[in-house]
Symmetry: C2
Subunit: 494 residues, 2 copies
């Protein structure tokens, strides 16, 4: 019988007082926030996967429900064994930190649970997006353009590649790449983010049809080599269509020379996309926006507030100077969602501009933060991050055993630590092989004691080095002093 009358499933009791939720909030505030953000506490409680599995024996979901007491214990363990990305000594990724304005926005978002496709179901957030979009478009000289939140900077870059292709060859959307005489090709620097490669694979363009453009010794794309590669590509029978420049590369933090690159793109009629996922936030700063000179000549940009603007994941934006291309390129006109006979102006429905259908509300937490700080506060905080990196670079230059790879442009500071046993020796192949093993060992020790977290990697010919990045507004110069002392403490016997 399919229709027996059940008054309510009310599968999880307690809707009237939400006592469990209140209890968890107290735990989050005490352990997940105030505790986690305390620099005297451990940044991580590292366990090998098998050991962690043994600790979290309750991971398995059973036939029977779990009691609220069990769930409470689990929540405590989740917090305990998770990495404290909000700690001012977490430097492992291109995000970090937390504040109560943005978190309030995030928690409201989760509680209201909406989807950003129509004004009908997300009226407030639709208007809020408009405000944020127009502000950001203005900052990069894209006034009158269009923008949309995307689930990550990688998706933003994908949007750039897709809109560029649509603009040059709109028929590809309907007919496929088969309608072309020549294969398309793309250009990005050797130091560009791997999302360009992932997108090229998925868009049917082929990863091998990306021409890597050479970078100078600071990691900046060389406009002369771009021109050179475009000519080579044309000579090989390719149809160039897209250039990706980076404002703040992932590892070295280099800003490509946008203005010169834009001039090359203009000459060859190529779409210029700027991947500012990481360093795009410099646009907010009077002091550092010069790093992005020429951005106003680009066609589109990726910009991640979830990296250097202190907003929790995910909060990424794709922006374009061209007004209608997002809509034209992505629309599918689904009648069940974008009815044209609604009781309001349906141009407020933004869903058809997206490749997504349901789209999480990412705007409120960002808007709360920015509104709460004002432009002045946002600018001051971003300047603070840049300042910290300059401070650290200077410090490293003055400290025995540290070797700076280059002066920072973005907030990245890349450096080697040379333990005493390796100092003042001939720097031959064997020596570099030994240096390459230093960072992973220090990192492993750092994870054991949980004092801080910082990433390392090789890059091109450069063997493993530390990549220090700033994105937590609470980090101080004292934390930079600590970092230097701590790496030396962990590594001096190596």
């Amino acid at each position: 019988n399919h229709t027996e009358s059940v008054v309510s499933a009310e599968s999880i009791p307690g809707k009237s007082d939400l006592k469990f939720l209140r209890k968890i909030v107290d735990i989050i505030i005490k352990e997940g926030l105030i505790g986690a953000m305390d620099r005297e506490e451990r940044v991580c409680e590292f366990l090998q996967p098998e050991d962690l599995k043994a600790k979290l024996k309750e991971l398995k979901i059973n036939r029977e429900p779990s009691s609220e007491d069990q769930l409470t214990e689990i929540c405590k363990d989740v917090i305990k064994y998770s990495v404290k990305t909000t700690n001012p000594r977490f430097f492992n990724q291109l995000f970090g930190g937390m504040d109560q304005y943005t978190l309030s926005g995030a928690w409201i978002t989760e509680a209201l649970n909406s989807s950003q496709y129509t004004y009908e179901v997300a009226p407030v957030f639709t208007l809020m997006e408009k405000e944020v979009y127009s502000k950001m478009l203005g900052l990069i000289g894209f006034d009158g353009g269009d923008a949309i939140f995307v689930p990550g900077g990688s998706m933003g870059n994908l949007y750039g590649m897709n809109l560029a292709r649509y603009t040059k060859f709109p028929e590809i959307k309907t007919k496929g790449l088969y309608c072309l005489d020549k294969p398309l090709c793309m250009f990005t620097s050797e130091k560009g983010h791997y999302s360009i490669k992932k997108s090229a694979g998925m868009m049917g363009l082929g990863t091998e049809n990306i021409f890597p453009v050479k970078t100078d010794k600071l990691g900046k794309m060389m406009p002369e080599d771009l021109r050179n590669k475009i000519n080579i590509a044309k000579g090989e029978g390719y149809e160039p269509y897209f250039v990706n420049a980076t404002a703040g590369t992932t590892v070295l933090g280099a800003y490509d020379p946008l203005s010169d690159i834009a001039d090359v793109c203009k000459e060859y009629n190529l779409w210029l996309h700027v991947d500012g996922a990481w360093g795009g936030s410099a646009a907010v700063s009077q002091k550092y926006k010069y790093l992005m000179n020429g951005i106003e000549k680009a066609d589109s940009m990726t910009w991640n507030p979830h990296k250097m603007m202190g907003v929790p994941l995910q909060c990424s934006m794709f922006l374009t100077k061209h007004k209608d291309v997002l809509q034209d390129c992505h629309c599918a006109n689904a009648r069940y969602l974008f009815q044209q006979d609604k009781n309001y102006d349906v141009s407020y429905d933004t869903g058809d501009k997206s490749l997504q259908c349901g789209r999480k509300v990412d705007v409120l937490k960002f808007w709360m933060l920015w509104k709460g700080k004002g432009d002045d506060g946002m600018e001051r905080d971003i300047d603070h991050l840049f300042m910290l990196s300059r401070y650290l670079a200077n410090k490293l230059k003055q400290t025995a055993g540290f070797r700076l790879i280059q002066e920072p442009e973005c907030t990245n500071v890349c450096f080697w630590y040379i333990p005493p046993s390796l100092r003042e020796q001939e720097e031959n192949k064997e020596w570099w092989d030994k240096v390459a093993k230093v960072a992973p060992q220090i990192k492993a020790r750092m994870m054991e004691c949980g004092s801080m977290m910082i990433g390392y990697n090789p890059d091109g010919d450069l063997v493993n080095f530390f990549r220090m990045v700033q994105s937590n507004f609470d980090t101080t110069t004292a934390d930079m002093d600590f970092l230097v002392t701590e790496i030396d403490r962990l590594g001096k016997d190596l």
Copy 2:
């Protein structure tokens, strides 16, 4: 001077007590949750965009910071004017409802702010994903396969199309579609979700190279017509490679006959992807899983816990039976993130399986819900939703002025309301034109009074009808009775 010593930006004070956050929590609990979930309260407070803009005068972000009192007022307004998707009378989209287990998980996630790419930075969540993946893979007979969270079902469908293509023609990833002799083509039913179209456009496959397969009068894809279309495509020189079947179509809620479709796919060596974004949750139910008979013969599936499993957006999963394809198809081997010399077994790093780089943690809120309820509770709740739809369908058949379009399969119940002025008349073209205008008018009135929200749309030859969908576990049969009375009240003078 770039290195002046600033002790701390501490741009937003109050880290030590988080008083502002606590105040907002109280408001969320009172107004955003207990109030919002109360069926006696309004589901929406509809205002035309211009009027809402006038109410929310504080939307503009200024140079100066806003005071905490201002922010508090804004948070109240955000809640007040947002649609209450958690109310048991919100039926407008394929999601709705809220409970304190899942919300606790969501709030912890936001407070801890991590990214799901490496075990290093997300140890607990990585293990939790493994548990959830293997459970879901087991439920659909994909044991030993692989899975990954994606930002929405549309992306899940995109992953299916991409993995299918990679499996048949791995060289497309590197060389692009240019390496093929014949154009690829895809098959999906006329009633399939539009994300297949969006993906085909973006993947360079071309929306016109999708062959729409006919559906029977219940909206189910016809295996004979699939075979027919495959043969036509081959005759036209296409290379067929991908079939999308739907488990729970968006509008009618039809389940395509998976077993028969799988047999056709096997015969022609085509990848079968099942879009179970909406109806896939039937796999949890002993009573309803028969609707998906044959799913174990498919190659991949999309499944959205953010729709029928009560998890807030976004929570979507892509699952495949094939163990290594996600990794092989999507990997880019970025050295800065997926270092191979880390101090743990790096096969726990899942990031390179994704098209994303940073990936929001979507697992905890889902795991908390499922763990808290147990399998039994999850099954009971999903059965409850199916039961409600059967109850409503029966009720509509017995109530004057309502006309059911078809018996429900998934939880969708589609129907027309015929106001008294149109009853017992000749059902000619003019009559249907009049019926088409009924649903939008009732909807507009419904939004004005905020008593409930339900969607409407045309479909094929069928003029505008109401699409009732169940996804809120707190909705009851009494709410179904209310719905019928309310539509009649709002529409009887039309």
